[in-house]
Each structure stands twice: as C-alpha cells, then as structure tokens.
Symmetry: C2
Subunit: 198 residues, 2 copies
C-alpha cells in the first residue's frame, strides 16, 4: 500500500531546513554568485546533489532564502507623534535585535546587483510598507512620504550593516534611533499637519 502523504517526514523536513539555513547564511556573507551549491551542501553536511533534489535549482533555493515578513507594527495604534521613533526602533530591531535569522540582510545585499532580489524588494515594499504608510498619511502624500522614509532607513542599513562605513558603524544605537526617528517623523507628519488637509 502506498502512502500519498506520509504523516511523518521528519528527516526530510530537517534536511530541507538545514539546507535553507545554510544557503541563507552563505548567500548573505558571500553573495549569490560566489556561493556554490557545493558550499551550501558542505555547510549543511549533505551531498551537493541533494540540494538540487530538494530545491530544484540554485535559483529556486535563492528565491526561498529571500522570503520573509517585515512584521511591521500597526501604526494606527501608535501615538501620532511617536510614529517616527516607532518605525526607527522597529527597523533597528530587525537589524540588531535578537531575531535576525530573516532574509532582510540577504535581500539588501543582493538587491543592488541581482534583479530578482531587486524585484522582490520592490514587491515587499509595495505589499508591506507602502500600505501601512498610506493608511496613516493619506493617499495624496503617501508615495512621496514612503519614498523618503525608505531612503533614510535603507540608507542607514546600507551604510551601517552592508558596507560598514566607520562613522555609521560607530554611532550608538540610541543616538541613531533618535536622529532617524525625528527625520522620519518629519517626513510623515511635518509640523502637525493632518493627513486629510489639502
């Protein structure tokens, strides 16, 4: 008797997870092009052929490695004058908090030279970030506001965590959150103008 869907497939799942974790680490530290299927297999302690067997190709493995959820807070529940600080703090939690085994560093590092990653970043921004901002500042100013906020937050990530520019690395976390929070607050809700105003 054949089982269509076995209830237990522990080993397979563990192997899959090990491959994916190894791939994400190596893609992040070495980039897509300089990470070989052999490297991933070695780190996951399995045979290179298994990587292809489980994921089909190197490209499909990469596509799964960059998938993740930003878990943005609900900005409508945040005091209006604390929106900037909240976003800045959330962003640093993503980069320097306890749970950092997500795909953001990989996506950020890859997006500049990998069109698939760039497209993924635009998609994530459109689906997760833009709506949250539009709901707060209204549709008229949403685009410009979102572009400015993204440029500041991604820019700090680029300087501090990707290329490791010394002054950006040296800056204390609190000072940075304060400075970025003020900037973002000003981009989103300048001078207390209500979003519904003309």
């Amino acid at each position: 008797m054949t089982q269509k869907k076995p209830v237990k497939s522990k080993k397979s799942d563990l192997t899959r997870a090990a491959i994916l974790a190894a791939a994400r680490e190596l893609f992040t530290s070495q980039g897509f092009d300089h990470t070989t299927v052999r490297d991933v297999a070695a780190k996951a302690k399995i045979d290179p052929a298994m990587v292809i067997r489980y994921f089909g190709s190197k490209d499909e493995l990469f596509a799964l490695a960059v998938e993740f959820d930003l878990r943005l807070p609900d900005l409508s529940k945040v005091p209006r004058d604390a929106v900037g600080a909240t976003l800045a703090a959330h962003y640093f939690g993503l980069w320097e908090g306890e749970n950092r085994n997500h795909g953001l560093p990989l996506l950020m590092r890859s997006a500049a030279s990998n069109e698939f990653a760039a497209a993924k970043m635009r998609e994530m921004f459109g689906k997760q970030v833009a709506p949250a901002i539009a709901a707060l500042v209204g549709p008229a100013q949403a685009a410009a506001c979102a572009g400015l906020v993204a440029s500041q937050l991604l820019g700090m990530a680029f300087c501090r965590h990707i290329i490791k520019l010394p002054p950006a690395v040296a800056m204390p976390r609190d000072a940075m959150i304060k400075a970025l929070g003020q900037t973002i607050q000003n981009y989103m809700l300048p001078r207390g103008i209500k979003p519904s105003e003309p």
Copy 2:
C-alpha cells in the same frame, strides 16, 4: 633608433580608453561577476586577449573602472543655512546631471556584494566626504554627522537609482532636493548651534 617613450601613442590610448569605457558600462549594468572579459572586448570591438594585455587582469580593470572624483564643493564658501541644500543638489547632479560618466553608479551597485568596492567606498568617504564635513561642524560631532548625511544620500541613491523603488523614482527632483536638503541641514547644523559649542 628606438623611442623609449614615444610622443605619440594615440592608438594605444584610444584602445585603452575604449576598453575602460566599455568595462564601466558593462560592470554597471550587469555587475562584476556577470560581466566577462569577452563581453568587454566585444563592446570595445577588440580581441579578448587585448583586455588582459592592456590591464593585466579583470580585477585590475575593475579597480580602474571604479576610480573617480566626487568633486565636492567647498562648503566653507557656502552660507551656513544653505549647506544642506547645496549638498543635496550636488548629489543629484552626480546622479542625474549632464556628466554622469563617472564611477559612482558602478561603485554603489557593486559595494553591497563586492568587498573591494565596499573598501573603495569607505576610502572615498574617508578622503573626500568626511574631511569636508569635519571642517564645517567640528571634530566632536563630525563622525555622527557624516554617518547620518551619508545614510540619507546613499539611501536615496539606492532606492531611486539602484533598485528603482517606484515612489522614490516618481518623486520630482525639486521636491526631493528640498526634503533631503532640510534633513541634511538638520543633521549638520541643528537649531543654529555653532559647531564649536561644547
């Protein structure tokens, strides 16, 4: 009679320049890894072997392709309350002005996934940007200020020109210069505090 250093070596220089220009274009659009010596040779309409003969190796060719001068204005000659706008305008001139055949787009695109390019960017920042800022705001606040300014300017370049995030691309140049100028001004000279104050 042999000439040690011929006064005229037009052809060689033209070939070198053609190779370098082709390399910069291809490295920028395809990235270092996906640009082959054969690609560069084809674009420059010469033999692939000549690329190596003229530049030694692909790595050395890349090193020359990323070399350039930011040509920052002398900030000491700019009114203090116009420093932010001046820097923002200069930055956009680099990215969207008439003379764009420099290495900045290539450096920016490569730095995230190429350690050599990242080091070059840190070096350029340290030699060209940091001193200009330090001379204006004083040594005490120079590092933090430089890190913040860099994060905002590089972040907009990343969003608007590298990954082409729709809201950042759509924003009119004037509106962006105004917004970034205000932010930079605030990072550099907040509330009119003089740089020499404790």
